[in-house]
């Protein structure tokens, strides 16, 4: 692992996945509750907790509320989550009382495909009955997307992932546009932020269509447009994401290393 230079001047070497994870982590506010799955969302949430958001409450669908893992969990059933949690409840309780009860601020979701309205596919590529690729399926995502106060989607951007039309709707974002969430009885605000390896997108407040609101360092608007399967709208106030700081990179790399080798060395600063 390369040691980053100590000054966070935006010229540090970092990968696009690291930029994506850091950008997702920064969007998680301190003291909020966050419903996280394993993988990049869990990495981002733990990075946030280890940096600017020490009071972020991590809720995993396995029933661990307020988990404070000292290493990245290998799965949502990792004993590390149960042992460090404020409370461990059953799976029915986590979905009914905590998620559906409207108590979670941010739900973090990944996907294999996303469309312009932030709808997500995690089920199948191709036809459902004779699929090209059978993916794992919905898991907790439909109701995380429905009931969390807001949703953050994290995925790599390409024409394979940013598609004009999903092969399967696993999780509803804004459906086919304004008013659909209300018509469907979805209580949360939906995907208010999408973080990719190229930049960040937010829904237009009127049309609900995703709009590119920032690009990561070194990424152009053309890069982002080329990696999108529909005519990507760009915000008039497009910004550039600040590069990862040395501290962010150091903590992130230690976190990721902790998963590989089981080291328990990432105590959060609290």
């Amino acid at each position: 692992m390369p040691a980053p230079s100590p000054d966070g001047d935006g010229t540090l070497p970092f990968t696009t996945d690291e930029m994506m994870t850091v950008a997702a982590a920064r969007a998680l506010g301190d003291g909020r509750s966050c419903f996280v799955g394993i993988g990049l969302p869990s990495t981002a949430a733990n990075l946030a907790r280890a940096t600017h958001a020490p009071s972020l409450v991590l809720v995993y669908e396995s029933g661990t509320i307020g988990a404070k893992p000292n290493r990245l969990p290998l799965s949502i059933g990792d004993g590390e989550l149960a042992e460090t949690a404020d409370a461990v409840v059953s799976v029915p309780e986590i979905f009914n009382y905590w998620l559906q009860g409207g108590r979670i601020d941010v739900g973090m979701l990944g996907a294999a495909q996303i469309d312009r309205y932030g709808n997500l596919n995690t089920t199948v590529i191709g036809d459902y009955d004779s699929p090209a690729v059978r993916l794992p399926g919905s898991g907790g995502a439909p109701e995380i997307g429905g009931s969390c106060r807001s949703v953050m989607v994290v995925l790599r951007q390409s024409t394979r992932t940013f598609v004009p039309s999903l092969d399967f709707v696993s999780t509803v974002g804004f459906g086919s546009g304004p008013g659909d969430r209300q018509r469907l009885g979805l209580t949360g605000a939906g995907p208010t932020l999408v973080v990719t390896d190229l930049g960040t997108l937010r829904p237009d407040p009127v049309t609900c269509e995703l709009v590119l609101t920032s690009v990561h360092p070194g990424v152009t608007v053309e890069d982002a447009r080329d990696a999108c399967g529909w005519a990507l709208a760009v915000s008039p106030s497009l910004g550039t994401t600040p590069a990862p700081t040395a501290q962010e990179l150091a903590v992130l790399r230690t976190l990721v290393g902790s998963q590989d080798d089981g080291v328990r060395s990432v105590a959060p600063p609290r």
Partner: protein, 274 residues
């Protein structure tokens, strides 16, 4: 009500699991009853309907070994690693046999267990709305109107497996069971099922349930079998960590039909019953 006797796993599986049964092996990434699944494979069960939130390696093995006709599930992946290749091969290519799917969300299938445990024909939730799952749950999801507010909500049909199988840390000599850590939907699966089998790490003189423990009295459990390590390679809180290298190795083992079959022959069929 019957008092449970401890009995050998092979006897319990033979008595409780028949061809064509609806079987639920539960354990939410923790305490997954692998040893019992291997016994089902050894006994050559066929045409099972397998119910489980997270099929995981355990159903990849049962599906690849030809035990399953139908799968009721909500997330079929190798957690933290990738795809379930035997599941995918069955769905994508019908090997070793076509696999019917009834596909849910976690919240929906969880509430189907809750309804089953509660003696109700259905449960109500906010879920599925607007997703493609609507047409993929067989006849298990419908809408229901709130008689007070007029709001339309989702109804999910109760799951009532013929048999539920779980792994727990402790049983006492009377067959009372305690499990702890992440307890998932195991209580609901056992209480929703007509019959149930619990494999345990240890038989103790007295249950001393710790924080968050689920206790199942002997009179709601059909059989208890002592099978230390019976949930390997998954976790058993207080006993063993997840064997993550096995989860990673499974990706390669399960990619090829030949290598999978050789693995099942060597590690399941050739093994003596637990």
């Amino acid at each position: 009500m019957s008092t449970t006797a401890l009995r050998p796993l092979a006897d319990a599986v033979s008595e409780l699991v028949s061809d064509g049964d609806c079987v639920s092996l539960e354990g939410f990434t923790h305490l997954i009853p692998f040893a019992a699944a291997h016994e089902v494979i050894r006994q050559g069960r066929r045409d099972l309907t397998l119910v489980r939130l997270t099929p995981d390696l355990v159903y990849d093995q049962l599906i690849g070994a030809g035990c399953a006709r139908r799968l009721v599930f909500s997330w079929a992946g190798n957690p933290g690693v990738g795809s379930l290749h035997r599941f995918r091969d069955a769905v994508e290519h019908g090997w070793p046999a076509p696999l019917e799917l009834e596909e849910h969300s976690h919240a929906g299938l969880t509430n189907a267990y809750v309804a089953g445990a509660s003696g109700l024909p259905f449960a109500v939730l906010r879920g599925y709305a607007g997703t493609g799952l609507d047409g993929r749950t067989g006849t298990a999801v419908a809408t229901v109107t709130c008689p007070f507010t007029g709001e339309r909500l989702t109804a999910v049909r109760a799951v009532r497996p013929d048999v539920a199988v779980i792994h727990a840390q402790h049983a006492d000599r009377s067959g009372n069971v305690a499990l702890w850590g992440i307890t998932g939907v195991q209580k609901e699966a056992v209480l929703a099922a007509r019959r149930s089998l619990v494999t345990v790490e240890e038989v103790v003189d007295e249950l001393r349930p710790g924080p968050g423990a689920v206790v199942l009295p002997s009179w709601v459990v059909s059989a208890v079998s002592l099978v230390p390590g019976g949930c390997h390679p998954s976790y058993a809180a207080g006993y063993s960590e997840r064997d993550n290298q096995f989860y990673e190795r499974w990706d390669a083992i399960s990619r090829s039909r030949e290598r999978f079959t050789a693995w099942i022959d060597e590690h399941v069929l050739a093994m003596a019953p637990s």
